[in-house]
Symmetry: C2
Subunit: 198 residues, 2 copies
């Protein structure tokens, strides 16, 4: 039997993550049955669980994958820009796969953190990427003189994360988002260096 | 058979709402089985569903009840104060009933809005209380000269609601909240009249 190449394994893993992301987003963790995961990924359960021990492991890998991708955007462009892109992304009700499907992943993480203490423990180890990327970016902005200097970087980081969490929740609920651009302007202005107005 | 008094009906309805609130918060909508609702309320299923047509009707009544209670606090003290009280309220993992159990209701509303289009339609008619109360309070604050006047009241309302949604999500996930007081100070400062600093 020929040895399966690492590239092939990576591509297959990616296929499973992308297919199951839409599935978890659409049906929720409990609703994402093995049959639906098969349909979403186009792979058999045998193939899926060759790569991931069980549904829980698959979901955790997916949530971690999404957090890493977001952290990369934050490092480049900041957390408010991530929020602006969320607003610009058309949402969908048709079950088609879509970049913003990590919204659904994130809300499932939120719900399971609340209802499942074991999950809380497993997730805690994996959830620091976004906070770290945000704090580092704000620190660089402060050094460049773009950030207000009367509030701790840690407080500004928590503020931006709280707004992001609210935005994720808002979008995931399908609430209207047309009017949120000026809200993000206000958020951005709130962390920037204050212009003297007197 | 003696006629049951309206007071008695109201008290029974309140007992069901309060008992089921903790139950939905702890187990989620699907997990709040009829047996658990019986245990949570101390009433039989017959008594519960004499007052509410089905579990869905009970949950909607509960969500609406919570929104009205929050709107009352907002009208008196503003949305940031509601958030401060959320922070001050000790959270619990023991399933005991607790005033902040509306956190759980709210997160269940969020999740069902995302996964259940029919629920979205039913909820839309009931969800305006909090927004209306917040907007009216901000309008009064503007007239009193306490609010910044370079940003629309509608934008400030959406901003505060977005932060609240983030805070609810944060607390419901059991994330540490010790460091959020200065974040709320920043939020409050962001909507207040700017002091001239030049």
């Amino acid at each position: 039997m020929p040895r399966v190449s690492q590239d092939h394994l990576d591509a297959r893993r990616r296929q499973i993550l992308d297919g199951s992301r839409a599935c978890f987003a659409r049906f929720g963790y409990e609703g994402a049955t093995v049959r639906r995961l098969e349909e979403g990924t186009g792979l058999s359960r045998g193939a899926i669980f060759h790569h991931f021990r069980d549904k829980e492991s698959l979901f955790l890998a997916l949530a971690e994958d999404d957090a890493i991708r977001m952290a990369e955007v934050v490092a480049e462009q900041g957390l408010v820009q991530v929020m602006r892109e969320l607003l610009a992304t058309p949402r969908h009700d048709d079950g088609e796969q879509h970049p913003a499907d990590w919204l659904g992943t994130r809300l499932e993480v939120s719900r399971r953190l609340r209802t499942d203490p074991e999950f809380r423990g497993r997730w805690a180890e994996r959830s620091s990427q976004l906070t770290d990327a945000t704090r580092q970016r704000l620190q660089r902005q402060r050094e460049a003189g773009n950030l207000r200097d009367d509030v701790d970087v840690a407080v500004l980081t928590s503020f931006l994360e709280l707004v992001l969490e609210g935005l994720v929740s808002h979008l995931a609920m399908g609430l209207p988002a047309d009017d949120l651009e000026p809200v993000l302007d206000l958020v951005e202005e709130s962390v920037r260096r204050h212009r003297r107005t007197g």
